[in-house]
Each structure stands twice: as C-alpha cells, then as structure tokens.
C-alpha cells in the first residue's frame, strides 16, 4: 500500500524533539529578564552549596580569637570574621548548603504530604470533608507559630525545622492540588479513562497529577523562598540550627550583639538571605507566567 510506504518514509526523517513542552517553557522563562537574575542567583547558591569545601577558605566553625571581628576586605578574610574569629565567607558558603538543604527537604516533604492529601480530597468526595477540615485547622495557626509549636514538641534541631516547615506547607499545597483535581476530574478524558477500566490510583497519579503539575511547580518554587526565610527566622530565634552551625539566621542572631561595632556580621548573611528569597520568588513568578496555558496558545 502506498500509505504504508509513505509512513515508513516519514519515520526515517529527523526524529521529533522530545519533551518540547519543557523546552518551550524554558524559552519563555528565559525571556523574562528578572527571572534570569533569579536563576543566576539560584545557580550560584546551588554551586556554593554543592562545592562548599572548594569555595570555603577556612573551616567555618574553627575559632581564632586573635582574628575576631575583622571587617570585610581584610587580608585572608575578604568578608571579615565574626566575634570568634571565624571566617564569614566560609560560614556563608556552608550556610548556603544548609539553607538549600532545608529548603528542598521542607518543600519535598510538604509537597508529598500536600499532594497526597489534595489528590485524595479532590478525588474522593467522602474524604474531602474530613481532610479539608484538618487542613483548615492547620490554616488556623499562624505559620511561624505552628512551626514553633512543632519544634517545641519535637525539640530544636535542623531536621525538626524541616519537619515543622513541611507541615506548615501542607495545607496550602493540599488546597492548590485539590482545586486542580476538582476541575480536572470533571474532564471527559478522565471519564474516558474510567470507561477503559483504569483504577482510581492510576487515574489519580498518572492522569490527574500531571495535569495539575503547573501550579505545583510554581508553588514549590515560591515555597522554597518561604522555607529558606522561615529556617533563618527559626534559627534566629534559637529554635533551628544551634551554634556553631553556620546557618544564616543563626549568624544574624549571633551578630546582633555586635551590630554597632561590626555591622558586617548581620549585613552579610542578611543580604544572602534576601538575595536567595528574592531569586526564588522571582523565578516562581516567572514560572507561573511561563506555565500559563493561555500564553502557550499565543506562541
């Protein structure tokens, strides 16, 4: 048959690019100038975090009291030292590792919980009432208070900070997912999947979840900023990282007594937190625009 030969001819032609939805999203993302700055900052943080031992010039926790409270641009300590003579740059670099780790950990845990609850409550009407009331209950607490409460119960440690912040992320995530599930569940292709005998589990995970990925990605990115900021806040309050851990919030907390004599002790970690939070927020914002299906149609 001629149709068959033609089809063979076409399959030999250059292969189609795979996953071009991701590529086109990335292209739109890069068009946003501010997002590039954000992406750059995130890239630097990841670089510093992953290769912290290479970038650090000193041991971040080793004290050297003879070199205490040196200002920035001192020889050997280009960002100066803190009140115990620890190198600020090295502490900053290791701090990047901690904040990234806590941020990712909290967001992943939060997403796991939020997506599960959101899918279940959106898909099964019976569970909806119960799950959403529990979520409402979590919403009733101010976020940071909830985190403090959880840490008060579990004890102060970075691991518990991750748990606390992830629990705090669950309600928002669950609501976002539930909303998407509710609208996607009504689509005819879900009914069509059911008519083909797909199990509930398969429909939820394979067919509904990919369709609500866009808001989840945006949420996750924005949540990174919140998680990093909250880790710093909790550490500042003494509930997170304990000294001598080079955590940014803890660094500010330690530096506040020397605010007038060595302001760089709080300004430097402060700027680091600000930059990273700004970066994640900006990228999240840009992602939201880039993932908007309305904008997909324009191109």
């Amino acid at each position: 048959m001629s149709a068959e030969t033609a089809s063979h001819a076409v399959t030999v032609l250059p292969k189609q690019k795979k996953d071009y939805a991701i590529i086109s999203t990335a292209k739109r993302l890069v068009k946003n100038k501010v997002a590039i700055i954000g992406l750059f900052i995130i890239f630097i943080q990841i670089l510093l975090a992953v290769f912290a031992p290479l970038f650090a010039t000193h041991d971040p926790v080793k004290q050297n009291l003879s070199m205490a409270e040196l200002g920035p641009l001192t020889e050997g300590h280009w960002l100066g030292t803190d009140n115990y003579g620890r190198d600020m740059w090295s502490r900053l670099v290791y701090g990047a590792r901690i904040s990234l780790f806590v941020g990712i950990g909290a967001v992943v845990l939060g997403l796991a919980g939020g997506i599960t609850l959101g899918l279940l409550s959106g898909y099964y009407r019976r569970l909806d009432g119960i799950i959403m009331r529990i979520v409402d209950l979590l919403f009733a607490f101010p976020g940071i208070l909830l985190a403090m409460l959880i840490i008060a119960i579990l004890g102060t440690s970075l691991a518990n900070v991750i748990i606390a912040i992830s629990i705090w992320s669950i309600p928002t995530c669950a609501r976002i997912v539930r909303g998407s599930v509710l609208s996607i569940k009504k689509q005819e292709y879900i009914l069509a999947m059911k008519s083909l005998g797909a199990s509930d589990m398969r429909i939820m995970i394979k067919h509904i979840l990919p369709n609500c990925m866009a808001p989840i990605i945006v949420f996750a990115t924005m949540r990174m900023a919140t998680a990093i900021l909250s880790t710093a806040s909790l550490s500042f309050l003494g509930l997170g990282a304990q000294p001598p851990t080079p955590e940014w919030g803890a660094m500010i907390s330690a530096g506040q007594d020397f605010m007038w004599t060595s302001p760089h002790m709080i300004i430097i970690p402060g700027i680091a937190i600000m930059c990273v939070v700004f970066a994640f927020n900006v990228v999240g914002d840009a992602l939201r625009d880039a993932l908007d299906p309305g904008m997909n149609l324009e191109n």
Partner: protein
C-alpha cells in the same frame, strides 16, 4: 446471531439532588443481540447518556441504579467495583462525544492507546506499541508511527475521534457504546466515522449501542432503534419499522424535524415545547403536554407497551384507538 449479550430489565436510575430524588431513567428494558447495532434516539436530556453511563457503571456518586443489566450472564449492577473495572475497556468500552476533551492533553496518543492494552491484556510496552500502530491503521489513520508520538492537540477532530475509536476497540470489546460520536464533527468526517464504525463492528464482531439525536445517523447505521422520551422508552423497533411506520407522535415529530433537502416545499415541523424538567410531576403519559393528539386518557393513565408487530412496540394510547379511526387519523408529519 440470536444470542443476546445485553439484557436490560426495568432499569431505573435516580439522582439524589438538593430538591429530593430525581429519576433520569424510568424503568427501561431492552436487549441487544451479538453483532447488532442499536440506536438510542431522543432529545437532549431524555436519559440516553445516563442509560449508557448506567451500563458502564460510571454514574456520578449521587446516582443509584435499580433493575438489572445482564451482560453475558452477569448483572452489572451487582458486580464488585474491581470486577467492573476489568469489564470496562476490556469487554464493554465507550466512545465519547467530544474528541477534543476525551483525550488527555498531557500524554501522547501512543501512550493513551497502549494503556488499556497494558492494563487489560498485560502486553509489554513494545508489544502494546506494535498493536497500537496496528489499531491506528485499522481506523484509517495515515502515518500511524508518527501519530503514536504526537499529542492530542496536534490532531484534528476527526483524527482524534478515530484515535478514540481505536482506544475503545483496543481490547476487542464485545460491546461498544458510542455516545454521540459524530456530533462534534464535520458532516464529511461524520460519514467517514460512521462508515468506519460499521466496518469495524463487522470486523470485530462487536455489538454497538449508538446514542444520538441525529435521525440521519440512525438511518445510516441502525439495525434497531429505541426512541426515548423523558426517561422512558416510548417506541422501539427495527430501523425500517421506525422510519416507515412511526407510531408514536413523538417519533413522528422527531422524523418531521429532519429537514428534507429534496423537497422545496418541505416545512420543518418542530415538536412544540421542551422536554420536561426531570423533577416535574406529570400524570399519565409523560408526553401528553406536548402531544397534538392528547386525549383525556393520556392525562390520567400512563400507556402500556403495545406490540404492533414482532419487531415494533409502542407506548401510546393512540394504539388503542379503533382501527377505523386510526385509518382516518392524519399524522402530523404528512405535508
């Protein structure tokens, strides 16, 4: 051929709503033979789609079905959830009205076509892909290898409906339910799809339930026709019987609502009024408020099923009107 694969008896489907319980399907019974095409006709909202969804067991959570749906000896209303899941797609499958929305936009055509094969037939990925290409060829899609890797939005409406048909036929079901499969398509594509369904039905030895409100479609494919009105079957018979000697005023009305292009003096005779609301209480025959021949009796008593011939039954009091009067009676569709 005489063996029936689907026997529906006294099927009632009710929905719980804020205004109490509402019946969408009110005690319908019919049976379907192997390899037969049955068309269910009626206005929007008369319970056609609900009947189909009742058979599939895919009604919304607030719905409840009574009666019995016997499919190959099993009452589908009593079958467990898990077992029903295995029947769906495998033994009974469904084609939906909107090819634009019935495919998942996030997956390739190939993925969606292979999925039922992998779920039900436990085929490997590779084997399922090969079978998928085979199926696309069968439904007349050119360049199937290329289409397998494309996303639904890259295909036209007709193409997508073909894909839907391919997916529905993937596991070689013995019953195929098509819910207005051509409504969203161009007329030219419509004819192609109907031809395709007819051919595939013969090839796969599938029984077909076609739900439609388009009498043209009915004429094209039907062996037997069921006319539904407000949740009830009001007339059923072979396609010839329904088209040549329609009995119920509603059926006549439906037939005279089809424009006739050949006759320049043809005037459309729409049925006056609209379908009653589901929770409206109507005494007697549910069609009487719109019926041009409504009698005293129609308002008081619901008509019973009258068999005119072996293959033709009607629910209408007009059947009782004496034969002499009956001859004098002028059908509305006559011009």
């Amino acid at each position: 051929m005489a063996q029936s694969i689907l026997d529906i008896e006294n099927l009632v489907t009710k929905f719980k709503t804020a205004n109490g319980e509402v019946s969408a399907v009110r005690g319908i019974s019919f049976s379907l033979k192997k390899g037969e095409t049955l068309c269910i006709v009626g206005e929007s909202g008369c319970g056609k789609s609900i009947t189909a969804l009742s058979i599939m067991g895919l009604l919304a959570g607030n719905a409840r079905s009574e009666g019995s749906i016997n499919f190959n000896g099993k009452n589908l209303l009593n079958v467990k959830h898990e077992e029903m899941r295995k029947i769906r797609g495998n033994e009974i499958s469904m084609i939906f009205q909107e090819p634009m929305t019935a495919l998942n936009p996030t997956f390739t055509v190939g993925f969606q076509l292979c999925e039922p094969l992998m779920i039900h037939n436990k085929l490997s990925k590779k084997a399922a892909f090969q079978k998928g290409i085979e199926l696309l060829k069968q439904v007349g899609i050119p360049l199937p290898e290329k289409r397998m890797k494309q996303y639904p939005h890259e295909l036209s409406g007709g193409m997508r409906q073909r894909v839907m048909i391919a997916i529905a036929l993937a596991c070689n079901p013995s019953l195929l339910i098509a819910d207005e499969p051509t409504t969203a398509l161009d007329v030219t594509i419509q004819a192609q799809i109907l031809d395709l369904l007819n051919d595939l039905k013969d090839e796969f030895q599938t029984s077909l339930i076609m739900i439609t409100h388009d009498m043209g479609v009915v004429a094209e494919v039907a062996d037997r026709v069921i006319v539904m009105y407000a949740g009830e079957i009001i007339e059923e018979g072979t396609a010839e019987a329904i088209f040549n000697t329609p009995q119920h005023p509603y059926t006549k009305g439906l037939l005279s609502s089809v424009p006739n292009v050949d006759d320049p003096y043809f005037k459309l005779n729409p049925i006056p009024g609209t379908l009653p609301n589901l929770n409206e209480q109507i005494s007697g025959c549910r069609f009487h408020p719109r019926c041009p021949h409504a009698m005293e009796k129609c308002i008081q008593h619901s008509p019973y099923r009258t068999k005119r011939t072996e293959n033709h039954a009607v629910r209408c009091w007009l059947q009782e009107v004496e034969e002499s009067e009956y001859r004098n009676y002028q059908p509305t569709s006559a011009v």
